[in-house]
Structures are given as structure tokens and as C-alpha cells.
């Protein structure tokens, strides 16, 4: 791949994809916070007839008329949805109203397009997938040409539009950040503080419409929803603070755009195909991949981390149960053997881990089949059994539970690591000494 091709074809496409993903991620984050993600889907579908009509009537793809037409269509759709809600709120749930309106608008756009714009460069494919590959910068034929201001003036209009929209959205979000946050997290508080959450919602819908329309050419009308939702959702796995989430979301969006584009253009060549894949589709898939990876590996909320935390608790619990079993065996109570313990734990792997942990902490010695408590192990085991019996005492004395039924509950509570309440009685409800 030569340098000029990179400048003329790949750079503008990647720039457009990155700006589009960034803009969508920014406003989409608030959309997901408001739990109205599907509104983004509805808006991105509803703009189609506006775009097609402008194209048919004016014969232009200039950004401003397109944005205005799309905005008008989005506004009209929002108005119709609101009108349906007001008129028939009792027999038409909101999701249904939205579904009816956006599918009708989209269908109208498709029919208009097929009937009117058949032979011009607006077709179903570019509505559905966008035309990222068509964004080119012919003037940038070499690196040296970049020094010429005229080359910059001839930068592809899609990229310029997206850049302007991106900066605009960034500015609006920064300016109204507090209002947005208040309206998203606590509409009731926002209302009482005079922050007009209804107005903010309306403004948010406007921001989403702007992002969706600007992204229309790059990724089409369906993939916008992936751009709106995925980067923010991925970012939420990594941080609990909104501002950090927004920045991480921007990073995720850029990663999805660049990664998806590279994968689409280079990936097929690596497996011996001579044709690139549709970049917009790949970018959406990449955004989904990032979400999946984040949801699995994030250190705090990830599936792996949560599994490991649960596992650690399970091992700890099994080890304490082992110590308590050995303690009861020493007390001379029948049935409390390592084999009994293995049966109650169930998983052999868990038993091995618990046994190993107990050895590492110097709490048991001897063979696995008949381990002996060490000095330290005896103290730890006494603490567990003490906890168990004190809890039993407490459940019977203070909570009025039936002595015959408190054992299982105490089996759970004894591991909580709390200092159990200490009644004066030195025996448990079954008459055994509390160590």
C-alpha cells in the first residue's frame, strides 16, 4: 500500500469513521444513562425520508440542506410520536408508538428512494451500510502536498461536516454538562432545582439526531445504534465515574473505528481474499467486540473478575469449613471426617484448592486423607466454631429461632468475618461448649 493511497483513501475514511464514532459515543452515553437507547434507533431510521426528499428536490448532497432535511424529519417523527402518546396514551404503549412511527418513516424513505432516486448515487446499500469507502481526498496525492493549504481546502466534505458536528456536540455537552447529568441521574432533583429535565430530554434527542444524521453517510442508518450504545457501555465496565467513562468511551470509539477499518481492509488480504469487507459493518462488529472484551476482562465489573471473586470466597469458605470439621473431629464427634467435608463441599477441585490454602497458611499438616490441625490451625478452627456457636446462641436467644433449625443459617453466617454478638452463656443451644 503506497503512501499516497493511504493519504487519499484510508486517512479520510478513518478520520470520518473516528469522528462519527466519537460523536455518537458522546451523545449515546447519555442516551443509555436515560435508558432510552432505542430512541437513537428510532431517530436514525426516521431521518431517512428527510434526506431522500432533500436529495430528490435539490439534487444535492451538500451537508447543510441534508442536515436540515434530516432534522426536519426527526422533529416531525418526534412530534408524531408525542402526539400519538398524548392522544392514545391509554391504549398505545410508548415503545409501540415509537415502533409504528419510525418504521413508517423508514418505509416512506425507502419507497421515495426506490421510486425517485433509482439512477442516482443514493441507494439502499448506502442507506444501510453508509459509504465510508467513497470518502476520498484526491488532492492529497503525496505527503509533500499536505504543506499546501489548497489541499486542505479540498478535504472531503464528509470529514469536514463530521468534524464540525463533533466539535459542536462536544461544546454543547460541555456547556450543559451539569444539566445533562442531573436530568439523566435524577430527573426529580433536576426538576426541583429548576433545570428543566424535559427540555434537556428534548435537547438530548436533538443531539442524537444531529449525530445520527452526520453519521448517516459514513455508517448508514442501522449501524448508528451500535456506535451510540457500544462504546459507552464498554466504558462503563472500566470506570464508575461519568467523566472518566466519557473519555474512555471516546477512546473505545476511536479504537473501534480504526480497528474496524483496518480489519476490514487488511483482514481479508491476510486470509487471501482480494476484496475488502464493508468497513462500517466491521466497525460496528469491532465496537461489539470491544464491549464483549470489556464485559469479560474488566478488573472490577468483568465476568472473569467476578468469577474469581466468587471463587476466592468459595475457597475461603471451604477452608474454614475444613478447619471446623477437623475441630469437631478432635472434640470426638462422630461423622466429622475429611470425607464428610468433601461431600458437603461437593466440588473436588474446590476441596483441593481449600486444602492447599490451608497448608499454605500453615493450618494443617499430614496427608490429604487425614490432615491434622497445627497450632495456628487449631486457633483458626476454634475461631470458626466459636463464631458458629455464638451465632446459634444469638439466633435462638435474640431472634427466637428453633434450636433444631439454626445450624444451616449459622453455617452461612459463621464465614461473614464479623465479630459475632457475645451473650454470657458459654454453651451453644445444643449444649456444646463455645471455644
Amino acid at each position: 500500500m503506497s503512501g499516497s493511497l493511504l493519504l487519499q483513501y484510508d486517512l479520510p475514511a478513518v478520520a470520518a469513521a473516528t469522528l462519527c464514532a466519537g460523536a455518537c459515543a458522546l451523545v449515546g452515553h447519555f442516551l443509555t444513562l436515560r435508558r432510552t437507547a432505542m430512541l437513537g434507533d428510532a431517530i436514525s431510521h426516521a431521518v431517512l425520508p428527510g434526506i431522500v426528499l432533500v436529495f430528490l428536490l435539490l439534487g444535492t448532497r451538500a451537508p447543510l440542506p441534508m442536515l436540515l432535511g434530516a432534522g426536519a424529519a426527526a422533529l416531525l417523527a418526534a412530534g408524531v410520536i408525542e402526539g400519538l402518546k398524548r392522544l392514545f396514551g391509554d391504549r398505545l404503549e410508548q415503545g409501540a408508538a415509537m415502533g409504528i412511527v419510525f418504521s413508517a418513516f423508514f418505509a416512506m424513505g425507502i419507497v421515495l428512494m426506490e421510486r425517485g432516486a433509482r439512477n442516482v448515487d443514493l441507494d439502499a446499500d448506502c442507506v444501510l451500510y453508509g459509504t465510508l469507502e467513497a470518502i476520498t481526498w484526491p488532492a492529497a496525492h503525496s505527503a509533500a502536498a499536505l504543506a499546501d493549504p489548497a489541499v486542505w481546502a479540498a478535504a472531503p466534505r464528509q470529514v469536514i461536516t463530521l468534524a464540525v458536528v463533533y466539535v459542536l456536540l462536544l461544546a454543547v455537552v460541555a456547556l450543559f454538562f451539569r444539566r445533562l447529568v442531573a436530568a439523566c441521574f435524577d430527573p426529580g432533583f433536576a426538576r426541583s432545582a429548576g433545570l428543566r429535565p424535559g427540555l434537556v430530554n428534548f435537547g438530548l434527542a436533538g443531539l442524537v439526531a444531529t449525530a445520527a444524521v452526520a453519521s448517516f453517510e459514513a455508517v448508514g442508518s442501522v449501524l448508528v445504534i451500535a456506535m451510540l450504545v457500544c462504546p459507552g457501555a464498554a466504558a462503563r465496565q472500566w470506570s464508575d465515574r461519568l467523566v472518566s467513562q466519557l473519555w474512555i468511551g471516546q477512546g473505545m470509539a476511536a479504537l473501534a473505528a480504526v480497528g474496524g477499518y483496518v480489519l476490514a481492509s487488511v483482514g481479508p488480504a491476510m486470509v487471501g481474499l482480494d476484496r475488502a469487507l464493508t468497513a462500517s459493518g466491521m466497525i460496528a462488529a469491532m465496537a461489539g467486540g470491544l464491549l464483549l472484551v470489556s464485559a469479560v476482562v474488566s478488573p472490577k465489573h468483568g465476568a472473569v473478575a467476578r468469577w474469581r471473586r466468587r471463587r476466592a470466597v468459595a475457597v475461603e469458605t471451604a477452608r474454614e469449613d475444613l478447619l471446623a470439621t477437623l475441630f469437631r473431629q478432635r472434640e470426638g464427634r462422630a461423622g466429622f471426617t475429611p470425607a464428610f467435608w468433601r461431600a458437603t463441599v461437593g466440588s473436588a477441585r474446590l476441596c483441593d484448592l481449600a486444602m492447599r490454602q490451608a497448608r499454605q497458611r500453615g493450618q494443617i499438616t499430614g496427608p490429604d486423607e487425614a490432615p491434622q490441625l497445627t497450632e495456628a490451625g487449631l486457633a483458626a478452627a476454634a475461631a470458626v466454631v466459636r463464631s458458629h456457636r455464638l451465632w446459634e446462641r444469638y439466633l435462638v436467644d435474640e431472634a427466637g429461632a428453633d434450636p433444631a433449625k439454626v445450624h444451616d443459617q449459622a453455617m452461612v453466617l459463621e464465614h461473614a468475618g464479623l465479630t459475632p454478638p457475645q451473650p454470657g452463656d458459654a454453651t451453644d443451644p445444643h449444649g456444646r461448649r463455645i471455644p
Binding site: 434507533d41 409501540a96 415502533g99 451500535a226
Partner: protein
């Protein structure tokens, strides 16, 4: 008309007829399932599932071409669609449970991502040496023109099966739609029933892909169901109505897209369904906008007339002509200027004029030839005015005696209540407060009636 028929005669061959039948049955099935899915809030899932079928269709095509099978086999492609559609729903479920996402966020993410993956796979499919790739795009926006009679038959049969299952399980679905907790407490297998309903939604979505396309197929679930809600509040009736309306939409859309060149079937079918919805919302008896508006206007006209009659009665009464001198009023001495009526009650001028005109048409009011701009009660009008005034005052007394209102604050509520009451209520009212007002007599007003008495 003749040319349209000729065109119909020319274009509707055996194949088209079968396709139309298939699309109609599909519409029926989606209407029936949709009305249950909307109640159970499963339409979002339908949309996500539909979009998530794209990678499955592309993968099935790739698999078929790699193994040398028939790449245009509908069952194979639809099986692929079902696999990734189900996978998409499972992914959304997992994201909701373990990635701290709201349900609609997870659905939206899966919808976009799976569709994106499908788009990328489709561009790979285009590079394959096997033919038939172009046909895949019909799954996105729908195309009935390319549907074979065999495909349409498959779709029709599946649609009938889906409808039949929904019909058989209607009672069970009704339970889980309206009160899942109760159904579970009664020992119904709610999890299983939910799964069956979801499977039916998925099946309708998947058989709808070819005709309507995956972007818009959810509209076939939502729109006829929403339209049917205007015809009844009973689930069984709604389900049947949704089936009929869905079938109509499918048929109309199919016919238009067969007759008109370059009319994409999916979009046309959805627009037909939208038109049906709009028609139902406007015209449905009792609940449509128009009947409701007509009812409101009629009621308003009727109430205006009643208020005018009573105003005239009250004004003549205030002039010193008591209720027992009805004949004297009727004889012409009781003419009342319209200006005074407007002062007595806050009427919009045009509404007063309209009410007077209607009362004249009903021969309840006569023109007064002595005083221009004044009206006169006819004997019938007088009787009606006396009846209305009596009713109003009985209500006022009821509100004062039983409702703890004072004399003035009883007037306004009585104004609202007095119209169009059932005989049973009237009888109860008579029995309750008319002890000292014998039938037909107008009791005195509990409050002053001269000008300005009403704020």
C-alpha cells in the same frame, strides 16, 4: 379501473397468487403474535432478533457454497437466521445480567453489532464464486417479486402453524401477559410459556424476513396489533382483529408491490399497515378519533342547548314570573333578549347563536316579533326548560344536603352532572331530595339568580 383489472389479469399468474396468499397469511400470523408480543413487551426483542439474523443468513450462504449445496435454499438460510437470531437474544440477555446494561441498551447494542457483522459478512459473500448472492439483499428490505411459489407455500404453512399454536394457547398467553405472578402462583409453567411465545415471535420474524425484510419486520408485529387495540378492549377480539388487519396489510402491500414497478415490497407492506393503523385510529367505532370527536361535539351542542333553555327559564323567573305562571311566559310576555342570556351565562357568542338556531329547529324556541334579538320559549320549550331547571335544582339540593356543599358551590358541579343521565339515577335523585317538590314542579333555586350571581 378497467385498466387496473386488465393489469391484474395480466400480472397475477399462479405464482403471484400464491405469493399474495403467503404474504396475507404472514400478515395474519404477525398480527396475532404481535398483539400478544406487544402486551408481553416482546417487540423490542423481535426487532433485535430480526437484525441479528443477517450474519446467520450470510454464514448459511457461505457454508452452503463451501460445501457445494444449493445456496438459494430457503430453509437453510432461515435456519442460519434462526441460529444467530437466537444467539443475539442470548447475548443481549447476558449483557443485561452481567454487563450492567439496561435491557433496551443491551438490545440496541446487539441489534447494531450483529447487523454490522452481517454487513461485513455479506461483503465477503459478494466475493464468492457461487451465484445467487444478489438474492440475499431481499432479506434486508424484503422482496416479494423474487419469491417462488414454493417459498410462499413454506411461509404460508408456517404462518398457519404459528397462528394455530397461538390460538390453542390463547388462554395461557392471556395469563402471562396480564398477570405473570398470578399465573406462576396458579402453577402454570410461566417460563415455558414465555419461551413458547418468544419462539413464536422469532418464527414470525424469520418467515417475515423474505417478504418484509429484517429492518422493517418488527412493524408487522407492532402496527396491526396497535391498530386492533382501537376496536376492542378484549384480548380475544383484539387478537382476531389484529390478525385480520395484518392480513389486509400484507395483501394490500403485496398487490401494490406486484402492480407498481419499483415499489419495494417490505416498505409498501409496512406503509399499508401504517395506513390501516391511521384508519383505525381515525375511524374505529367508539374509540377512533373521529367518532370520539363527533361524540364530544354532539354532547357539547346538546349541553349548550340545555344551558340556554335553563338560562331563559331562570331569567324569566328572575323577572318575577314564577314557575307556576308558565302559561303567562308561554303567551309571549316572557321574551328574553339574547344579550341577557350571554350575560347570565358565559357563552361564546357563536355557540350561543348555534344553540339558539338548533333549539328553533327543534321548535323549542320561537322568535319574538315585538323585541328584535330576543327569543321566546314555545310551550314544548317551556316544558323542557322547566324539566331541566328542576333537574338542575334537584342536583344542587342533593349536593347541598348530601355532599356538604354550600348554595353557590353546588351550581357548577350540578351543571356538569345534569346532562344525559340514566332513568335509574334520576329516580334515585327524585327519591332522595324531591320530597317537598312534587313531580313536575320546579323548586326554588338555592342561590340568587340575577345578573352577576355567577362569577
Amino acid at each position: 379501473m378497467a385498466s387496473v383489472l386488465a393489469q391484474l389479469g395480466v400480472t397475477i399468474g399462479y405464482n403471484t397468487a400464491v405469493v399474495l396468499a403467503g404474504v396475507t397469511l404472514l400478515g395474519v400470523a404477525s398480527g396475532v403474535i404481535g398483539s400478544l408480543a406487544v402486551l408481553r413487551r416482546r417487540t423490542l426483542m423481535g426487532d433485535t432478533l430480526a437484525h441479528a439474523t443477517l450474519p446467520g443468513i450470510a454464514l448459511a450462504f457461505i457454508l452452503a457454497s463451501a460445501l457445494g449445496w444449493e445456496t438459494r435454499s430457503l430453509p437453510l438460510l432461515l435456519a442460519g437466521a434462526a441460529v444467530t437470531g437466537g444467539l443475539g437474544l442470548a447475548a443481549a440477555h447476558w449483557l443485561t445480567r452481567s454487563a450492567r446494561m439496561s435491557e433496551d441498551g443491551a438490545m440496541a447494542a446487539v441489534l447494531g453489532v450483529f447487523f454490522g457483522a452481517g454487513v461485513a459478512l455479506l461483503s465477503y459473500v459478494q466475493t464468492l464464486p457461487t451465484g445467487g448472492q444478489a438474492g440475499l439483499s431481499r432479506f434486508i428490505l424484503g422482496q416479494t417479486a423474487a419469491m417462488s411459489a414454493a417459498d410462499a407455500t413454506t411461509i404460508g404453512v408456517l404462518a398457519v402453524v404459528v397462528t394455530a399454536v397461538a390460538g390453542l394457547l390463547l388462554k395461557e398467553f392471556r395469563l402471562i401477559c396480564f398477570d405473570r405472578g398470578f399465573a406462576a402462583a396458579q402453577g402454570w409453567p410461566v417460563g415455558l410459556l414465555d419461551a413458547v411465545l418468544l419462539a413464536l415471535v422469532g418464527l414470525v420474524t424469520i418467515i417475515g424476513l423474505q417478504a418484509v425484510g429484517l429492518v422493517l419486520v418488527v412493524a408487522m408485529l407492532i402496527t396491526p396489533a396497535a391498530a386492533a387495540r382501537f376496536f376492542s378492549d378484549r384480548l380475544s377480539t383484539t387478537v382476531v382483529a389484529a390478525g385480520v388487519l395484518g392480513g389486509l396489510s400484507g395483501l394490500a402491500g403485496g398487490v401494490v408491490s406486484a402492480l407498481v414497478e419499483r415499489a419495494p415490497a417490505g416498505a409498501v407492506i409496512v406503509l399499508a399497515a401504517t395506513a390501516v393503523f391511521a384508519g383505525a385510529a381515525l375511524l374505529a367505532p367508539r374509540r377512533g378519533l373521529l367518532p370520539v370527536a363527533v361524540r364530544r361535539v354532539r354532547a357539547a351542542l346538546e349541553h349548550d342547548q340545555e344551558h340556554v333553555l335553563r338560562a331563559i327559564y331562570e331569567l324569566t323567573e328572575a323577572d318575577g314570573q314564577t314557575a307556576d305562571r308558565q302559561t303567562a311566559i308561554g303567551s309571549g310576555s316572557g321574551a328574553v333578549a339574547l344579550r341577557r342570556i350571554a350575560q347570565h351565562r358565559p357563552f361564546a357568542p357563536w355557540r350561543l347563536a348555534l344553540a339558539v338556531r338548533l333549539l328553533r329547529l327543534r321548535s323549542l324556541l320561537g322568535r319574538c316579533y315585538v323585541m328584535p334579538g330576543a327569543v321566546l320559549l314555545t310551550p314544548d320549550g317551556l316544558a323542557e326548560a322547566a324539566r331541566l331547571t328542576r333537574l338542575h335544582r334537584l342536583f344542587e339540593r342533593y349536593l347541598i344536603l348530601r355532599g356538604g356543599r354550600d348554595a353557590f358551590s353546588a351550581d357548577d358541579p350540578a351543571d356538569f352532572i345534569e346532562h344525559g343521565l340514566s332513568p335509574a339515577v334520576l329516580a334515585e335523585l327524585e327519591a332522595s331530595v324531591a320530597a317537598d317538590a312534587p313531580a313536575g314542579a320546579v323548586p326554588p333555586s338555592p342561590h340568587r339568580l340575577e345578573q352577576g350571581a355567577r362569577p
